[in-house]
């Protein structure tokens, strides 16, 4: 039993040995949920210690088109030595995307282009993530949010 506990503590100690970073798709976990037959909600869950740049965030849909440019929420203002005042997002971010035409039962690919950094002083290259969702039929409940990639691995994979 003591050996077992020691092994567990050893595993934890290794993790604390140095600065380690998340994969970009896990630092900036992207998911999409259909809201109705012409609206989807794009969501980022940004890990603690990481941030996304507002001006580098772009959404598009295929094969549909957006009714208008997405209304991005205001971010936190950051006074950057090189870029001046920039807005960044931390924590969670949700953006409703309205399609030009309703497409009940249709599949829509939602594409997010983003770029972010970690507070430890590292930036990730711009990345594009795609998620396919099915829009609900009239009177049907929307499906659960669909993640771009699994936000978490299982314990033993």
């Amino acid at each position: 039993m003591l050996a077992w506990l020691a092994a567990a503590l050893w595993a934890g100690a290794l993790d604390a040995a140095g600065p380690k970073l998340l994969e970009p798709e896990r630092a900036f976990a992207f998911s999409v949920q259909a809201i109705d037959d012409k609206t989807v909600e794009a969501r980022f869950v940004i890990a603690s210690g990481y941030y996304l740049y507002r001006e580098k965030l772009h959404f598009s849909v295929e094969p549909a088109t957006l009714a208008s440019s997405p209304s991005l929420p205001s971010g936190t203002l950051k006074d950057d030595e090189f870029f001046g005042k920039v807005e960044t997002y931390r924590g969670q971010l949700a953006v409703r995307l309205a399609l030009q035409q309703p497409a009940p039962g249709g599949k829509v690919v939602v594409r997010a282009e983003s770029q972010g950094c970690a507070d430890v002083g590292v930036c990730y290259p711009p990345q594009a993530q795609n998620v396919t969702v099915t829009l609900p039929l009239p009177g049907e409940r929307p499906e659960a949010p669909v993640a771009a990639t699994p936000a978490r691995k299982s314990w033993f994979n």
């Binding site: 092994a7 595993a11 934890g12 993790d15 380690k20 970009p24 896990r26 090189f82 002083g121 990730y124």
Partner: protein, 178 residues
């Protein structure tokens, strides 16, 4: 408490701790870089990249020097913050056989603008996003920036660094290779 109950308690605590340890390792803490120190820098030295005027520059032309290859981009603030240190170090130690080379994941006009701003005194090569893959072959598992590879005079990788280098740390590493 009966002995068997203590055993159960220990078993539960042990399992939770062990599972937590595995979970932490799997969910967030895989190493950000692969250790390539001591290996041959051939994959890097064998590459030729264009400078901002479009002329191919083989990285191998600087073999024999203490070579510091820095992957960077103008959209990467930590990269921009770090580079004046490289300019200063190139100026101070260039005549002792130290050569910095920047590989930018960026567009030539943006590279030139920033190079002028900081009076860049070492080559700036245009890597594009393909350079991210090149950095991955040198251990940059996540492809994040800044990422720096220090190669000794014999062409072996002496140090890699994800994230900014500090002045003292950089001088210390270079000092051991001169």
């Amino acid at each position: 408490m009966p002995r068997t109950r203590w055993i159960v308690v220990f078993a539960v605590v042990g399992f939770v701790a062990l599972a937590g340890g595995f979970y932490a390792r799997q969910s967030a803490d895989e190493p950000s870089t692969r250790n390539v120190v001591g290996s041959d820098a051939g994959p890097l030295l064998g590459v030729a990249l264009p400078d901002t005027r479009g002329r191919d520059q083989p990285i191998g032309q600087w073999k024999g020097k203490v070579l510091i290859v820095n992957f960077w981009a103008t959209w990467c603030v930590p990269c921009r913050e770090e580079m004046p240190l490289f300019v200063k170090t190139q100026r101070d130690l260039g005549d002792q056989g130290v050569q910095f080379v920047g590989v930018a994941i960026d567009q030539p006009d943006k590279i030139d603008a920033f190079a002028a701003e900081i009076e860049l005194n070492y080559p700036a090569l245009v890597g594009g996003y393909g350079a991210i893959e090149l950095s991955k072959t040198m251990g940059n598992r996540l492809g994040a920036l800044p990422f720096t590879v220090i190669v000794d005079r014999a062409g072996k990788v002496a140090h890699t660094q994800l994230g900014p280098l500090k002045d003292g740390q950089l001088r210390s590493i270079i000092g051991q290779l001169l």
